[in-house]
């Protein structure tokens, strides 16, 4: 299960808040890692480790919003939940625009936070799985010959064998053979699955 490997990162400059959040997460069975500032987090964070982030909006030095900006720059896509003592509307809007999953005002109900954490971890896992899948599709795709890739491009456009044969100037029988090889190389059961793969890739 994802729970075993996922880490919930906590970034808050208030030590007592950090400890209590860590404890809450631990009581709910999560593994928590705490950081006292955004800078510390950037330094210690390994993007390959799965998990999510609970981020304090208002901090000395780099604020939550600043860190979000840094994520964009560094292409870090960690799902994060913003917590804030006094969430002023412009900051909340800003935070949401910059990709926060949610903004929670302190104090908050544990089930709301944990629900968001679960959701975030799920999202993270999803993203990571998609990433893996995309990588697999990509590598499969690279094994296709040019003609096969050509056939596949037309297949996923929903064109029939005959149309493809006419467009490519080859016999329908050859198209059929290419189609079988594409499906095999792409480890797809059907053209429908092939379409999903391409969509995944394009996402």
């Amino acid at each position: 299960m994802t729970l075993d490997e996922s880490v919930v990162f906590v970034v808050d400059d208030e030590p007592r808040m950090r400890t209590s959040l860590a404890l809450l997460l631990k009581s709910a069975g999560y593994r928590a890692e705490t950081y006292g500032s955004a800078e510390e987090f950037l330094e210690g964070y390994n993007p390959s480790s799965p998990g999510c982030l609970i981020l304090d909006l208002c901090m000395e030095g780099m604020s939550g919003l600043d860190l979000q900006q840094e994520f964009t720059l560094r292409n870090i896509r960690i799902p994060h939940i913003i917590i804030s003592g006094f969430a002023e509307v412009p900051s909340v809007v800003q935070a949401m625009k910059r990709g926060a999953m949610d903004v929670l005002e302190k104090p908050f109900r544990d089930d709301v936070l944990l629900e968001r954490v679960r959701e975030a971890i799920r999202q993270d896992a999803e993203t990571r799985r998609e990433n893996v899948e995309r990588a697999e599709i990509q590598s499969s795709l690279e094994r296709l010959s040019d003609r096969e890739r050509e056939v596949m491009r037309l297949l996923v456009k929903g064109k029939h064998t005959k149309t493809i044969a006419r467009e490519l100037g080859i016999s329908p029988k050859t198209v059929h053979a290419h189609r079988a090889r594409v499906l095999e190389k792409m480890r797809a059961e059907s053209v429908v699955e092939l379409v999903r793969m391409v969509r995944t890739l394009e996402a």
């Binding site: 208030e14 007592r16 808040m17 400890t19 209590s20 959040l21 404890l23 809450l24 631990k26 009581s27 709910a28 069975g29 208002c58 000395e60 003592g85 006094f86 002023e88 005002e105 302190k106 104090p107 908050f108 109900r109 544990d110």
Partner: protein, 591 residues
């Protein structure tokens, strides 16, 4: 009293001078006369003796006639002189007869004829002599009479003089007695005047409670009464009063509050002039204070303000009956008026102080409102921790994910965070509470740190660099903690606003320093400076340079600092920004 004596003396003098004046022309004659009188007496005696000798010689036989005549003439002169004119005339007759008898009868040899020319001539001569002498005698008698008159007058004059002297001495005695009386009176008067002067002097330079205390002391002394008291009415209609100053004869008494019912103050409280010359304890048997103080007499004058409202009264009480109705005494009325003015001034002052306290509180509420989000965060923070910890405990106990040490630590944390929250709430409530200012001994550095605690978050949010430059071993000050916190908070918020107006990174410096008799607290920023022409106006009420400012912060701050006998001033810093600093008197430097 001197009148009759003097008049008598005058009339005597008049008579005397008239008498003397009438006789002045004959003064020489009188002197000659007095000289000749004794001579005449001796001569008369000689005549009689000579006559007797002549008689004897005649009888013996050898008589010179001319001697006889001479003796006769002398005898006539003597008789006329001594016994007067008629006696002289008779004497003449007798002598002539005797001579005739002696010469004719006894001597025989002398031819005697009554009408003999020589004899006639002799008789006529005798008569003339007798007449002249008699006339002289009459004249002498008149003079005598005049003299005796004069003597009488002189005696009368002497008597009158004596009487005068007696009366004068009597009068002098009287005058001396009355002088003595007067001097006692004037001494008494001087003493009373002195007491009044002392009263006026002692009360002229004092104000406030000092004035009232000084007044009762000197009132008692001026009116020679044991007690004097000034009483303030506490409600309307008056049921309770409070003494503001109470002279007990030797010292100032403790101020007390009491019900007026059943006391002589009841009438005074209604605004009446009250005077009980004596027996006041019998009139008010339920007033135990009168009995305790052995009060016998009571006199009170109401004190009313300029609009005629009765604010209190001044009463003079004594252990003995009062000699006069002091209510009518102008001095008491004057000082009562002065005390009334003082009472009015006190009440006005109290009202102003109350208004200022209310205003300061209102402003604290305003600044609290401005800080609301910061403060809310201050509270949210521990509440968040508590919520997290509690929820973690619940969850951990249900799921077994937390061991008991972790749970215990979390519970511990919950308790301390809850207390911390309570402390913050208490601090806020205290800050906005409606209360009379109260001085206590305060360590100013600690107070500065508390205020920093309040604005800490704001400082971080604004990314202001804070420098605390607090003097070590700063002497303690005697101030109202909340009000000084308010001043400091005001100055810090002003600094924030000034730094907002500048783009440079904010630097806030809080500094404490001790001077000879005060502690100085300063708040410096590197924000926008106050233009020189506005420097003087910034402490005025409702003067503001901020768009959303009320203009009360510095005005209230200054009145708070003044209330603490300190000063609040502003100056531009040489390297930009402003410094606001205020002084607070050291503990014990002001009673």
């Amino acid at each position: 009293m001197a009148g009759p004596v003097l008049k008598q003396r005058e009339s005597l003098h008049g008579r005397l001078s008239r008498t003397v004046g009438a006789r002045n022309g004959r003064a020489g004659t009188a002197t000659i006369w007095r000289a000749t009188r004794s001579f005449t007496l001796v001569a008369s005696l000689g005549i009689v003796a000579a006559q007797t000798l002549v008689m004897a010689a005649l009888v013996a036989g050898d008589v010179p006639i001319p001697g006889l005549y001479a003796v006769s003439v002398l005898a006539v002169v003597a008789v006329s002189w001594l016994l007067g004119l008629p006696a002289g005339l008779i004497g003449c007759v007798v002598i002539v007869a005797a001579n005739t008898l002696v010469l004719g009868v006894i001597a025989h040899d002398v031819p005697v004829g009554p009408f003999e020319p020589i004899r006639l001539f002799g008789i006529l001569g005798l008569l003339l002599i007798s007449g002249a002498v008699g006339q002289l005698r009459n004249y002498r008698d008149r003079l005598y009479k005049e003299l005796s008159d004069r003597r009488q007058v002189e005696a009368m004059l002497k008597d009158a003089q004596k009487e005068l002297v007696r009366q004068v001495s009597e009068r002098t005695e009287e005058l001396a007695a009355s002088n003595r009386l007067l001097s006692v009176e004037s001494q008494e008067r001087r003493r009373a005047e002195g007491a009044l002067w002392a009263l006026a002097e002692a009360t002229s330079s004092t104000v406030g409670s000092d004035f009232l205390r000084s007044l009762v002391k000197h009132l008692a002394s001026a009116f020679r009464a044991r007690y004097a008291v000034i009483v303030e009415h506490l409600d309307e209609p008056v049921t309770r009063v409070r003494t503001l100053a109470f002279w007990t004869g030797e010292h100032l008494g403790e101020d007390v509050e009491y019900e007026v019912a059943g006391t002589p103050c009841e009438a005074a409280a209604r605004g009446e002039f009250v005077y009980h010359a004596g027996g006041v304890q019998r009139l008010f048997p339920n007033d135990s204070m009168l009995a305790d103080l052995k009060v016998e007499s009571y006199c009170a004058v109401p004190l009313s303000n300029s609009s005629g409202r009765i604010l209190g009264h001044v009463a003079i009480l004594d252990e003995k009956p009062l000699a006069e109705n002091l209510c009518q005494n102008p001095a008491l009325q004057i000082f009562a008026a002065r005390a009334a003015a003082e009472l009015e001034r006190r009440q006005t002052e109290e009202r102003i102080a109350q208004m200022q306290t209310d205003l300061a509180r209102a402003y604290r509420l305003v600044s609290m409102g401005e800080m609301a989000s910061t403060l809310a965060h201050e509270i949210d923070q521990p509440l968040g921790v508590i919520a997290n910890d509690a929820q973690a405990c619940l969850r951990g106990m249900r799921s077994g994910q937390l061991d008991s040490d972790e749970t215990l630590a979390a519970l511990d944390e919950i308790a301390s965070e809850a207390l911390r929250t309570g402390e913050i709430v208490r601090r806020i409530r205290q800050f906005v509470s409606k209360r009379a200012p109260q001085r206590s001994t305060v360590a100013i550095n600690e107070l500065v740190r508390q205020v920093v605690g309040l604005v800490d978050l704001e400082i971080r949010r604004r990314r202001v660099a804070l420098e605390l430059d607090l003097e070590e071993f700063l002497p303690k000050s005697h101030v109202d903690r909340i009000q000084i916190q308010q001043v400091l908070l005001n100055l810090i918020q002003n600094a924030f606003d000034a730094m907002d107006a500048n783009d440079t990174e904010g630097r806030l410096t809080l500094r404490t320093r001790s001077a000879e008799d005060a502690v100085w607290v300063s708040v410096s920023d590197n924000g926008k400076e106050v233009p020189r022409d506005q420097m003087r106006r910034i402490f005025e009420p409702y003067y503001t340079t901020k768009d959303d400012g009320v203009g009360m912060g510095l005005s209230i701050s200054r009145s708070i600092v003044h209330w603490h006998d300190g000063v609040l001033r502003a100056r531009a810093r040489p390297d930009g920004g402003m410094t606001f600093e205020f002084s607070l008197p050291l503990q014990g430097s002001k009673s």
